[in-house]
């Protein structure tokens, strides 16, 4: 297992007041994402546990694009990865952010 953590500063907090949400399932080619509104409103942290080593640069790029797009300020995001492809990761992150905005 490889652990990765990325910290970002956001321009604004994620709207909404849902305290936490989870989406996805840990399965082959899939992942689960737990989102918790526990950080300062301009901070976002994404921590990943993945069984597939060596994709740090890809994760970094996926997370950076997500943060730029969703501005998920205030969120600690924890990922249990089952070997998901980047497009699935992006999709789940956006789904998670939408749940938190509800």
């Amino acid at each position: 297992m490889e652990s990765l953590t990325f910290r970002h500063t956001t321009k604004k907090p994620l709207p909404g007041s849902v305290p936490n949400a989870i989406t996805g399932v840990v399965a082959s080619g899939n992942l689960e994402i737990l989102l918790e509104r526990v950080l300062p409103p301009d901070a976002c942290e994404v921590a990943i546990e993945t069984p597939i080593a060596g994709y740090g640069a890809v994760w970094e790029a996926v997370v950076a694009d997500f943060v730029a797009r969703a501005q998920p300020g205030g969120l600690r995001i924890s990922i249990n990865d089952g070997g998901a492809r980047p497009d699935t990761v992006s999709l789940r992150l956006l789904q998670g952010a939408r749940l938190m905005e509800a």
Binding site: G83, P86, D87, T88, L91, L94
Partner: protein
């Protein structure tokens, strides 16, 4: 003194030798080996029928069981290397030289044998090329074919899976060759005559019905949100944009998703009747909901598909059927239809390079071509216009006299940026080049050349290569939809944004598509069982696709 009848006399001698093992034309399954050893001569060109669907498997087993002392050094000229026996004959020396087209399941073994020098390879062809060469320089001495039933005169019913048989028989029977057919049963009267009896010399009653691979069945249960997103983009950004009415689909999940989105997403976009009305396509089970919803006017088929026979019989307005009611497929005609009469081919591939060349070859597998390059190429012999064809032509034409402009066929690659096990689809260099070097192929096995490709669709967006004005733009357009692959992350962001502004690259949001709307709820059928329901119980899926 010139000999003008040598071939004919040789043919008569082969048939006379074969008759010893036959009752009239009929040969019992147990005598297949005797028959083949009597008819075949060392060095013969032999077509052992088999493609990506049906297989003359009983005759294949018979050929593999022949004595290599009697039958050897054959030159196999056949569509498919699919069964183990197709390669066994090269290990025993029964066969020596090979010209073929498709080798799906045997791709790894054939690569090994080519590398090991056990096979003398002529060339890997597309279906149409190989069929063409049957009539020019690869005419079979003996054809071993498969049908459903025959009468004692040799009249043959090939049934829904007619496929290559008429072409193979035409080339063999009319040029002094011998035609041997395996059939599932001998009957007093065949349901319809697909091959007249005077073209068939021997009929073998096979021990088991010939094998057919359900290659075109895609289980909707396995479709992902990403595939649905890509399908949405293709429908809105290409089908609707160009008004594609005549088309061919590949066999991947992406195109199957498109088929399942027509009655839902396509309906919502008001596209019924505007797109997808005429098809050159196998009877895909995933097309059933679109057919039942009135989207489809006509489908001509290369072959059939396991379990679709009853459904097709009940829909003669849609499919080509015989007087008996069952499907009449024909690979050569349908390939021609796909090449000349369709405005678009859309399908998946395993690798795409920076220019847009694509290949389904990996370093250890030679999968062959089948018909994809016929579908996925712009036919320069086309002379009839259509709106879609002309629009693509206008987009691609930069210089020259507009009065001399011709149209372009749309050739669309529909891929996810990563394949199974996080293998990137976009690469700097195709594995096919490496493989060609390794096994000494003169021509690299490229499935679709870059100059034929007009669009690439991924979950990141659509790249319209027709609008690219130079090699650099083309490369950046491809990198721009290559997502998080190395190729994608190596893009020039500024250039990609410029291409996007010009509509060369269109993101989901540029098309008015919200990625989070890509939900399985959009699929007209979510399971094989749903397809059965759509068909009114007429579709009978094979056991391996059932979960009831």
């Amino acid at each position: 003194m010139t000999q003008w009848r040598g071939e004919r006399e040789a043919r008569d001698a082969r048939i006379a030798a074969g008759r010893a093992h036959a009752d009239g034309k009929v040969v019992p399954a147990g005598s297949v080996v005797d028959l083949l050893e009597a008819v075949l001569r060392p060095g013969d060109r032999v077509c052992l029928e088999g493609d990506n669907q049906k297989q003359a498997d009983c005759l294949a087993r018979g050929l593999a069981a022949c004595d290599p002392g009697k039958v050897h050094d054959l030159h196999m000229v056949q569509s498919g290397i699919v069964l183990p026996e197709h390669l066994d004959v090269f290990e025993t020396g029964i066969a020596k030289r090979l010209d073929y087209s498709y080798s799906g399941p045997q791709g790894a073994r054939i690569a090994k044998m080519l590398y090991g020098g056990q096979i003398e390879l002529g060339a890997v062809h597309t279906y149409l090329e190989l069929f063409a060469r049957y009539f020019v320089d690869l005419t079979p001495h003996v054809a071993l074919i498969a049908g459903v039933s025959a009468d004692r005169d040799g009249n043959l019913y090939t049934g829904p899976n007619t496929e290559d048989t008429p072409t193979v028989v035409e080339a063999t029977a009319f040029k002094n060759g011998v035609v041997i057919a395996q059939v599932n049963q001998i009957v007093d009267q065949v349901p319809r005559v697909d091959i007249p009896g005077d073209r068939v010399d021997f009929v073998v009653e096979a021990d088991t019905p010939f094998y057919v691979e359900p290659l075109f069945t895609r289980d909707p249960a396995a479709m992902t949100e990403t595939q649905i997103l890509i399908a949405m983009m293709a429908i809105k950004g290409i089908y609707a944009e160009y008004g594609i009415r005549r088309l061919n689909h590949g066999i991947g999940f992406g195109t199957a998703a498109i088929e399942l989105l027509l009655p839902t997403y396509g309906e919502k976009l008001g596209l019924k009747g505007q797109i997808c009305t005429h098809w050159a396509l196998n009877p895909h089970p995933t097309l059933i909901p679109a057919i039942e919803s009135g989207w489809v006017q006509q489908v001509h088929c290369f072959g059939s598909e396991v379990g679709m026979d009853r459904y097709i019989r009940a829909r003669p307005d849609i499919f080509f059927t015989g007087a008996d009611g069952s499907l009449r497929s024909n690979r050569a005609f349908c390939q021609t239809a796909g090449l000349y009469a369709c405005d678009m081919f859309i399908g998946a591939t395993l690798q795409i390079d920076l220019m847009g060349h694509s290949s389904t070859i990996t370093q250890s597998r030679v999968a062959g071509f089948g018909g994809a390059p016929n579908m996925g190429s712009d036919p320069h012999g086309r002379r009839h216009p259509s709106d879609a064809w002309m629009k693509a032509g206008r987009e691609g034409q930069v210089v020259g006299d507009p009065a001399l402009m011709r149209g372009r066929k749309l050739v669309v690659q529909l891929v996810e940026t990563f394949g199974e096990k996080l293998v990137p689809t976009f690469v700097e260099k195709l594995d096919a080049l490496e493989l060609a070097k390794k096994i000494g192929l003169e021509l690299a096995p490229v499935m679709i050349y870059a100059d034929d490709v007009t669009h690439i669709v991924t979950e990141e967006g659509i790249a319209n290569l027709l609008l690219c004005r130079d090699a650099d733009e083309r490369e950046q357009a491809i990198r721009g939809v290559a997502g998080y692959t190395d190729v994608g992350r190596g893009r020039d962001r500024a250039k990609v944004e410029e291409l996007r502004a010009r509509g060369v690259i269109r993101r989901p949001e540029d098309l008015g598509i919200e990625p989070l709307d890509a939900d399985r709820a959009l699929l007209a059928a979510k399971s094989i069982k749903d397809l059965v329901h759509w068909s009114g119980g007429l579709y009978e899926p094979p056991a391996k696709f059932r979960n009831w």
